[in-house]
């Protein structure tokens, strides 16, 4: 199956092409073809998994060269796919969660006239994302990287008839561009340092490169990861990206695409291994973002934006883990997988709530929905317990490991990183409980014409399956360190290190903070009445509500000076450059005029031109040949 792994990309890609080309003719059945394509990709991934499991651990990396893009010479470019434990993990996550979300969308988008186009984009996304994780070189990864960016742009702006949605799509696109530049520079540096861009050669050559080179490459990769994964300081687009249909938020902006940055860091382990400074920066960015996202999540009243902030914060955990080096890589991916399940489940739950509440997203107008939608309540509840990290639910196994790993080390690092991770756990418990209680408990604060109802089976079944995953996947993968052993061929074997505090103390401290956070939330939002209008807020709340004024900062630091710079440049261009150009342009225009005069439509002129040309060429040959 690993030799057929290209099928996993080809199926959804072909489906997307067919859906886009056939247009309205495919409206009747297009969505089911989309589901089938994604499901087919999952089966291919499953086949590859079974094949890899049948091999010895060190043989579990199958690199298939599909074809040679540009043969020979200095620039030999192969297009190849790499099936190893890391990429297959992603393939399964993307296609499994993706297929469920496809099914869910069939019902969720039922009344949208453009449902077929939606599925085409969704398939396009799945294909691009699979290309991203299966690529065996940075160059091909970049193709997928741009592909998911394109799909994300198209899907955020899916309802682009609304101006602010189109703006949100543009914003995501522009911010991602900054990250892409990072990846391009990183590739340039790699090419000059190693002379190749495929993972194998880079891994082979990395140990012989200087630390400065590796640090530069690592930092540029981090810029790329920050853009794609909404990490500080490039996180501002994710909240606005919630403008897309909710299944998109679940698949792209929670479970898969936004985690591509973590994938990139883990995949580049050979580079970060030789660049400890870059690793510290990665961990610092992760720690910073995990707190930032948590604070924003505490203040948001829009259910999707609160979940988006939580995604940002959870990816912060993964980045932190990835920045810790070999001891953290496996846990970063572990948390990424469990998070993919519980966060996608919760997003689908939020979509289900919106479905029953006429697209209301303000949590202050929810409340007491437990009675109206029992399935949504249970599935969301399991996701909530998972993200809180209550044993034995999934999040406990993955997040606790990250907290433990963050406390490993010497000097100031374990205390800062570990502290941030620990505090983050408490904050997470608070804001997620706040979200949960405000939505499902307390008194009903619905607007007058609301009649909440449970969603159809096509929506609830995927939610139930994801909820089961949120509950038990962590336990299943953690038993006997199954998952970390599975990833070992890629992430390397990590020696066991003791944290600076004993592990039981850490677990106890985490759980205590979680319980305190959830308790405060219950007192404030579960038991007490929640005002329907947001109360006047303190400066701190206001700051968080406004995403730490990131937009204003961006505007002040980048946009305004950028505008002034462009205006100055335009002025200089008009005054200085154009001055010169105009003089020169007069020359060009003169040339154009002269040639146009020759191109006057008269055959005798044409023939004369040819004759003159002939004479000149004869002169060139005679003179030049001398």
């Amino acid at each position: 199956m690993t030799s057929l792994i290209w099928l996993a990309i080809a199926l959804p890609l072909a489906s997307a092409a067919i859906l886009l080309c056939l247009g309205r003719r495919a409206d009747a059945w297009g969505h089911w073809m989309g589901v089938a394509a994604s499901g087919g990709a999952f089966l291919v991934g499953l086949g590859a998994l079974i094949e890899l499991l049948g091999k010895a651990a060190e043989d579990r990396a199958v690199d298939t060269t599909l074809y040679t893009f540009i043969p020979g010479g200095d620039l030999h470019v192969d297009v190849g796919l790499l099936a190893d434990p890391l990429s297959i993990t992603f393939v399964l996550l993307i296609t499994f969660v993706g297929t469920l979300i496809h099914v869910y969308s069939v019902a969720y988008m039922e009344h949208d006239p453009d449902r077929r186009r939606f599925f085409a984009y969704l398939n396009l996304f799945v294909a691009a994302m699979l290309l991203l994780v299966l690529a065996d070189s940075y160059l091909l990864l970049f193709v997928g990287w741009e592909g998911v960016g394109l799909a994300s742009y198209l899907l955020i702006g899916f309802w682009n008839q609304k101006r602010e949605y189109a703006t949100a799509a543009n914003k995501a696109f522009f911010v991602n561009r900054v990250g892409d530049i990072g990846l391009i520079i990183a590739m340039g540096l790699m090419f000059t340092s190693f002379g190749a861009l495929d993972f194998a050669t880079v891994a082979e050559q990395a140990p012989s490169a200087t630390t400065a080179q590796l640090t530069a490459i690592g930092l540029m990769l981090l810029v790329a990861a920050c853009g794609k994964s909404a990490q500080f300081p490039l996180q501002s687009w994710l909240g606005d990206a919630m403008a897309g249909p909710t299944p998109v938020s679940a698949l792209i902006h929670a479970a898969t695409m936004v985690t591509a940055g973590v994938y990139l860091i883990v995949r580049s382990a050979p580079i970060f291994d030789g660049a400890p400074d870059a690793r510290v920066v990665v961990a610092a960015v992760g720690a910073m973002t995990l707190l930032l996202g948590a604070f924003i999540g505490m203040a948001k009243d829009d259910i999707k934006k609160a979940l988006a902030a939580s995604t940002m914060s959870q990816i912060g955990y993964m980045m932190l883990a990835a920045g810790l080096g070999p001891i953290g890589y496996a846990f970063a991916i572990f948390h990424l997988v469990t998070h993919g399940f519980f966060k996608a489940g919760m997003f689908l739950g939020a979509g289900s709530v919106m479905h029953g509440m006429k697209d209301q997203v303000d949590m202050r107008r929810f409340g007491a929905l437990r009675g109206a939608m029992i399935v949504t309540w249970v599935t969301f509840g399991l996701g909530w317990l998972a993200i809180l990290g209550i044993p034995p639910f999934s999040g406990y196994f993955s997040k606790d490991k990250i907290i433990e790993a963050a406390f490993v080390g010497e000097g100031w690092q374990p205390w800062v990183f570990g502290g941030a991770a620990l505090i983050g756990a408490g904050l997470t418990a608070f804001y997620m409980s706040r979200l949960f209680f405000m939505t499902f408990h307390g008194k009903a604060r619905w607007t007058d014409d609301q009649h909440p109802h449970e969603s159809p089976a096509l929506m609830t079944v995927p939610m139930i399956i994801l909820a089961v995953g949120s509950a038990f996947l962590g336990l299943f993968l953690a038993v006997g360190d199954r998952f970390t052993h599975w990833l070992e061929p890629v992430t390397g074997h990590a020696e066991h290190h003791d944290p600076v505090l004993p592990i039981p103390v850490l677990i106890a401290a985490t759980l205590t903070l979680v319980v305190i956070g959830a308790g405060i939330a219950w007192v404030k939002y579960g038991r007490a009445d929640v005002p329907e209008e947001a109360p006047a807020a303190s400066l701190a709340t206001l700051t968080a509500r406004n995403d730490f004024f990131q937009d204003s900062v961006n505007r002040a630091v980048f946009q305004r000076p950028g505008q002034h710079l462009t205006r100055t440049l335009v002025y200089l261009d008009a005054a200085v450059v154009d001055g010169a150009v105009n003089k020169q342009a007069r020359g060009w225009a003169g040339l154009g005029e002269a040639s146009r005069r020759l191109q006057n439509g008269q055959v005798r002129t044409y023939a004369a031109t040819m004759l003159v040309g002939l004479v000149i060429l004869a002169a060139v040959i005679v003179v030049g040949g001398l």
């Binding site: 080309c21 074809y67 040679t68 893009f69 540009i70 043969p71 010479g73 060009w588 040339l591 154009g592 040639s595 146009r596 020759l598 191109q599 439509g601 055959v603 002129t605 044409y606 023939a607 031109t609 040819m610 003159v612 040309g613 002939l614 000149i616 060429l617 004869a618 060139v620 040959i621 005679v622 030049g624 040949g625």
Partner: protein, 526 residues
Amino acid sequence: MNFVTPEIAWAPLAPIIIVLGAASIGVLIEAFVRTPATRRSVQLVFGLVALVAALGTAIAQWVALDGGGTVVQQFMLTVDRQALAWQTLIVVFGILGLILFASRTRAGESAFTPLGSTAPGSIEETLARRRGFEVTEVFPLLLFAVGGMMLFTSVTDYIFLFVALEVFSLALYIMVALARRRRLMSQEAALKYFLLGAFSSALYLFGVALIYGATTQTSFAAVGRAIDVISGRDALLLAGVVLVLVGLLFKIGAVPFHSWTPDAYQGAPTPVTAFMGAATKAAATAALVRIVYTSLYPLEWEMSWLFWAVAIASMALGTVLALVQTNVKRMLAYSSVAHAGFILVAFAGFTEEAVAALPFYLLAYGLATIGAFAVVSQVRERSEDGAVGAEAVRLGQWAGLGKRSPLLAGAMALFLLSFAGIPLTAGFIGKFEVFSAAVAGGGWPLVLIGVIASAVAAFFYVRLVVLMFLTDIPEGAEDSIEVEDGPLAKLVIVVTAAAVLVLGILPAGLLDVYADAAQFLVLPNG
């Protein structure tokens, strides 16, 4: 006297014989099938069958010539893999052109005038149109052109090359004159093309005479050997070489022998422009390659001056003039002049890589050209009373085409990006191969100029893309444009677009094939 029956190697000649034979039978079909509508269908099917058969036999012959193998050297012809590579290319362009010739608008209007012999706007013309006449002679004419071009790629004798040149040129002159709309312009273009073509043919013949004078030979190989022997510089020979090359550079459309291109491209019926733009350039390039590599190679040093000068002039002037065009067809014509320059860049250093790179470049260029002109043929003006008229060729009329027909505009954008040489299109690979061949031959300054010219050229290609997709349809002009959807034209657009994309992503297989073709066998006895 003792006559020896010549042994004719039929198999290698089969592709050419099939096409030229079919062309002759096509003329008979004109005489014996009376109803115009039936005649058109018969001609189309017959022409397609003949071209597909030619393609099949050419490929079979390719396979038979395993690794160079036996090569026919009769009748001043050489059928080696190089010749077959170019022949298949031209037949493919012929097939696409033939389909495009048969395409019609919704109102059943073909691209050709109903009766070629009538004066534009005369009563006879109106009558002919009303009675449903059709110039179905274009189909055999196209076959003659294809056959002539196939010969042109395989001939190894200066005199016979001239015959082949005239075979396809005469067919082209007639076809250019047959536009249904804007007939005066079409006839003027044909006359200009004919006069200038005759002029260049005369120059070529004069050149051949001078070469014969200097070497007493007319076959490529014998001339090559003779030049080798001539010590010192022979003015007669050099003058002859320049004249011969000028004749070919005229067909390629390189500066300063390009003046016919914009007028002929603009005036010709668009399907003819499509076929001519793609196939003539390929045939002329093939002949140029053969002459330069098998006959004039001893004059490498002298010729490189000529090639460099013409390449630079073509790239620069083609690009600059394309920038200021406001007519889509003229813009594409000047872009073809610039592309002639890029083609000549490959000759820098006369490397073997260039021989392998050029067929791919011409294939990529030809597919995009046919596709782009097929798109042009679908965008029509509509008058206020709703009648669909001539093609809308003013750039301004293309504003917002992406909103009227996203797929058509998307295909056009793809062709333009391929012209510009953007990665993941065939044009990129072609340009990359050609430029690498030039670098390998030490022509890096030429490549530098080529890259700069490409960058400037990207401007006017992208300008059209911007116009189609990012500009709104002008107020009040919503109904002034009609987008046709002739199924045959659509077929051509889809096939060429798919090919441009596939060759951009999976070029390796074909590149290997053309690398095989880059083996010349210089004739042992002329």
